[in-house]
């Protein structure tokens, strides 16, 4: 895949730690650091919507999840995406926290193209496991079907 033309994440202050951890092949989600609360939240934000604490930490996830939904985009698309189309884009609900869902792509192995999995294998509820692939300047989480 011509990874240089894919859109890179435009990182903000709140989201930066997520990408620092993916670079270390760790999937972490922001959580409230108030010991009375501790709720996970995504996308990251400055304070906790449950207790309003500004203290947060990044909690490591097992990387297991299930497909919550998926689409197959077809053209018209930006050129680098049109080359792969139709590809899959999926939403994964994390096994550790089903209300935390991440958008990603289902691939046969880390770094494989987004159209590498036979579309008939995408099913809502299918168990998936995170893998990591370097795309441009970023390490992106990707997903493979659990064996």
């Amino acid at each position: 895949m011509t990874s240089s033309d894919l859109l890179a994440p435009v990182v903000d202050d709140d989201g930066a730690p997520f990408w620092e951890y993916t670079a270390q092949h760790e999937l972490r989600v922001q959580a409230c650091a108030n010991p009375e609360c501790g709720e996970l939240r995504f996308p990251p934000r400055p304070c906790c919507p449950h207790c309003r604490s500004f203290d947060s930490e990044w909690r490591r996830m097992s990387g297991k999840g299930r497909i919550w939904s998926y689409v197959f985009p077809h053209p018209p698309l930006l050129p680098a995406y049109a080359e792969m189309a139709p590809y899959n884009a999926i939403v994964v609900e994390l096994a550790d926290a089903p209300r935390i869902r991440l958008v990603g792509n289902l691939v046969t192995e880390a770094g494989a193209p987004w159209n590498s999995v036979d579309p008939s294998r995408l099913k809502i509820g299918a168990r998936v496991q995170v893998v990591f692939a370097r795309i441009g300047e970023f390490t992106m989480p990707q997903w493979v079907l659990e064996r």
Binding site: D12, P73, H74, I124
Partner: protein, 384 residues
């Protein structure tokens, strides 16, 4: 002012529009002026009397340019509402508040857009990657159709909604457009076969699940109910108005709360019905925002025309057609008349209550108009 003070306090007394086409030669500014002047002429009100304006943040013509071009006088209220098509009905709501509280006396809401000849907004990668874009766009969830397609697949999975249900929506809009000479799809009938064999845009959504690309402009004039009685046209009263931004909502990528399939429509609906003298069962005709066909089942649920998850099934048996349980989008809507961020749904609601629609619902006296679902939204209840 007391709660409920806006009820029937203001009315739409003028509507105007330009032709709709894939490409029009004039500028957005010229089109805006034409639509606004047509609306004022319809109302029988001089442009010099206009002292309030409201539009969308995505509107690229502004009050300064419009006011000086049409020859408005001193302007004392102006407002723009965000979130794309979610702002359509809110422009009326803001003007209703301003007129009812004396901040303005003649309000104009407008939308002018050359979406047909302009670039597609999602191709602008500079503006498309704010938070939460960093969590979705790099993975190829690039366009509104991809974002809504994701929610659609989940709705199909949870509730048994089918492509035939989405076809029912597309067909109802197309059938009404086939009655409306101003519609872009006036002479283009749709069959189930043409729908089912159309190319995919973001599977499960095909070409005909997506709205049109249109050049055109529309406007509406709002005054107090008292003044409305002296205007040229039969007044169409703003019975109830509402905006809606639910707790923990994330826009079109609403994947990160407990219940992604109940969106802003639910919030707007609660506020809308709370202030109204009637309920969903009393609505004669509805104009429901249709950038994508699945927004109709989601909105039917949100505004209380059916139960949770029943929006797909509701479309069966011709329910959305003239003579059905709830005729919708009687000009053809965004899917088949014109996509101008939903403003044609407002003007069509007015036409129905005046009795002048090209697909008139007999004796229509109440109409729900909604703005975009899946983004912070708005809605109005119109009555004659």
């Amino acid at each position: 002012m007391a709660a409920g003070a806006l009820k029937d306090a203001t009315a739409i007394v003028g509507i105007g529009q330009t032709p709709f086409a894939k490409q029009l030669p004039e500028s957005e500014k010229a089109l805006a002026c034409r639509a606004i002047l047509a609306a004022l002429d319809d109302a029988g009100i001089s442009p010099a009397e206009v002292d309030g304006f409201a539009s969308y943040t995505m509107e690229e013509t502004d009050e300064v340019e419009i006011a000086k071009a049409i020859g408005a006088g001193d302007v004392t209220f102006f407002s723009k509402v965000g979130y794309g098509g979610g702002g359509s009905c809110a422009t009326l709501a803001h003007l209703a508040s301003a007129v009812a509280t004396g901040q303005a006396s003649v309000g104009v809401a407008w939308r002018s857009r050359k979406r047909g000849s302009g670039r597609r907004p999602w191709t602008n990668t500079q503006v498309q990657l704010p938070t939460p874009g960093q969590w979705t766009r790099p993975y190829g969830l690039l366009r509104p159709a991809d974002e809504i397609g994701m929610l659609t697949r989940r709705h199909m999975h949870e509730y048994g909604t089918t492509r035939d249900h989405l076809f029912n929506v597309a067909l109802a809009c197309r059938n009404r457009a086939n009655q409306n000479p101003a519609a872009q799809m006036y002479e283009r009938p749709m069959t189930r076969e043409s729908y089912m064999t159309a190319r995919m845009i973001s599977d499960p959504l095909c070409l005909f699940d997506n709205c049109l690309e249109t050049d055109g402009a529309l406007a509406a004039v709002i005054v107090s109910a008292e003044r409305a009685r002296d205007c040229r046209q039969k007044p169409v009263y703003l019975h109830s108005v509402a905006q809606g931004l639910p707790a923990q909502h994330h826009g079109m990528v609403n994947y990160w709360n407990d219940d992604p399939l109940s969106g802003p429509a639910w919030t707007a609906a609660r506020q809308l019905w709370k202030q109204a003298d009637f309920g969903p069962e009393d609505i004669d005709v509805a104009q429901i925002y249709d950038a994508f066909t699945p927004l109709i089942p989601l909105s039917l649920e949100g505004y209380g025309f059916c139960g949770r998850g029943e929006g797909g099934a509701f479309t069966e048996g011709g329910a959305l057609e003239i003579g059905g349980r709830l005729p919708i989008n009687t000009s053809g809507g965004g899917l088949s008349e014109a996509y101008v961020h939903g403003f044609n749904l407002i003007t069509e609601g007015v036409k129905q209550l005046r009795g002048t629609s090209t697909a008139q619902v007999p004796d229509a006296a109440t109409c729900l108009v909604t703005a975009g679902e899946g983004v912070p939204t708005s809605a109005v209840l119109l009555r004659s």
